[in-house]
């Protein structure tokens, strides 16, 4: 009997060594969320969609006023609405590809089993265009951000719920997770260095935003840009800042990052578009 249990224990060890065991996305999120909840006891979980503002009361008040009184992205959202309602040359519309407008935002990022890739909102917008004989839009700003902004606006109140349905999807998730935690660039910084370990601290006068909730408000209107920009535009900016190899918008690297990054905010509300300094 004793012998049997030893044999069982040894074979269990071999099995564990042979298959890679990943933390589940739920475990990853619990760890990340737990870190912030423990460090910033005064910040409500649901507030994390508002980014760095949650760490500074005066800036938070200003942010709320901007959002309530004169959101600077309204014109672009209206432009996006017009795009949505305008038929392509062949008479089809975005709705024919993407479905009802208020159901679109929350579907992405999504694992596409057939092509073993990650579908993103912006990727689907351009796929719809090319399928209907239209030219694809540029990825980072302008019309694509306007349309994605309108679509995000229509999803207000819906919650992020990224699913990792199988092992191949998990590989994409792991690729994104590795990107997020790996040191990169000449300045040798990971996303997590600034946006987990030192979130809430100041880099010069800027408060570092928390990774938890970071994706909720995209496309975002940054004062620095003076217009809406997509999530992958922001990723590119971060990479340049640490002097890392810059990946293209909608590259596999950024799609994987978006997949992981969005999954870590599961349960928070989509709030895009929103203003950021």
């Amino acid at each position: 009997m004793k012998k049997l249990s030893v044999v069982l224990a040894v074979s269990a060890l071999f099995l564990a060594a042979a298959s890679t065991t990943y933390a589940t996305p739920e475990e990853d999120q619990a760890a990340l969320k737990g870190f912030f909840m423990k460090k910033f006891k005064d910040v409500e979980e649901s507030a994390y969609g508002d980014g760095a503002y949650v760490f500074r009361e005066d800036a938070y008040e200003q942010f709320k006023e901007i959002e309530a009184d004169f959101p600077p992205y309204e014109d672009q959202v209206a432009e996006g609405e017009e795009m949505w309602n305008t038929a392509f040359a062949n008479g089809k519309t975005y709705k024919d590809c993407l479905g009802e407008v208020d159901t679109v935002r929350a579907q992405y990022p999504k694992y596409d089993e057939e092509n073993d890739t990650i579908l993103t909102l912006e990727g689907q917008i351009n796929a719809c265009r090319t399928e209907n004989g239209e030219k694809p839009l540029k990825w980072k700003k302008g019309p694509i951000a306007a349309l994605s902004g309108y679509i995000a606006d229509q999803a207000e109140g819906q919650k992020i719920d990224v699913k990792i349905p199988n092992e191949k999807a998990q590989k994409w998730y792991e690729k994104g997770k590795n990107f997020f935690y790996a040191k990169r660039g000449q300045l040798n910084m990971s996303c997590a260095d600034c946006h987990v370990a030192y979130a809430g601290n100041r880099i010069r006068a800027e408060i570092l935003s928390p990774a938890f909730g970071q994706v909720t408000h995209f496309p975002t209107y940054r004062a620095k840009w003076g217009q809406l920009g997509t999530l992958h535009r922001r990723y590119g900016g971060c990479n340049q800042q640490v002097r890392a190899k810059d990946f293209k918008a909608q590259s596999d690297e950024f799609k994987a990052l978006e997949y992981f990054h969005t999954a870590t905010s599961n349960g928070l509300e989509w709030t895009g578009p929103a203003f950021r300094k």
Binding site: Q186, L187, N188, M189, Y198, R202, I203, R204, A205
Partner: protein
């Protein structure tokens, strides 16, 4: 015999004392060698956003809107009596703290060896 021994001890002490005096004199000379001009250069590199950019994370007297990721750069001589230790910290902070967020200025050649020396001399005066 005893006399010889005493003489030997005495002369040994004199040699030691002279050596100590000499060492501290040369140490003082090292400090004195850092010219105003070199310190000004070091300060420039320290504050330059594309070079040291130290204010991004550290409070430094005379620098506006410093970050608070790293400790304030004050009382540096008390904290780093040995200049070489300070230089190593600037060159690669990972040696002392593998979890650091600080940029490995030396190994990643963010600034040159000469610039690291200039920055070290300036930071040591803070």
């Amino acid at each position: 015999m005893r006399k010889l021994f005493r003489m030997l001890t005495l002369s040994a002490s004199v040699v030691t004392l002279t050596a100590i005096a000499g060492m501290s004199a040369s140490h003082a000379a090292d400090e004195a060698k850092v010219s105003e001009e070199a310190l000004a250069k070091g300060k420039e590199i320290t504050f330059d956003r594309s070079k040291g950019n130290c204010l991004a994370c550290h409070m430094i007297t005379g620098g506006e809107l410093p970050g608070n990721i790293g400790p304030p750069l004050i009382a540096m001589k008390a904290r780093f009596p040995d200049r070489a230790v300070l230089r190593e910290q600037i060159y690669d902070a990972r040696i002392k703290n593998p979890m650091t967020i600080m940029i490995p200025f030396g190994p990643h050649q963010v600034i040159s060896e000469e610039e690291i020396d200039l920055v070290t001399d300036y930071i040591h005066t803070l």
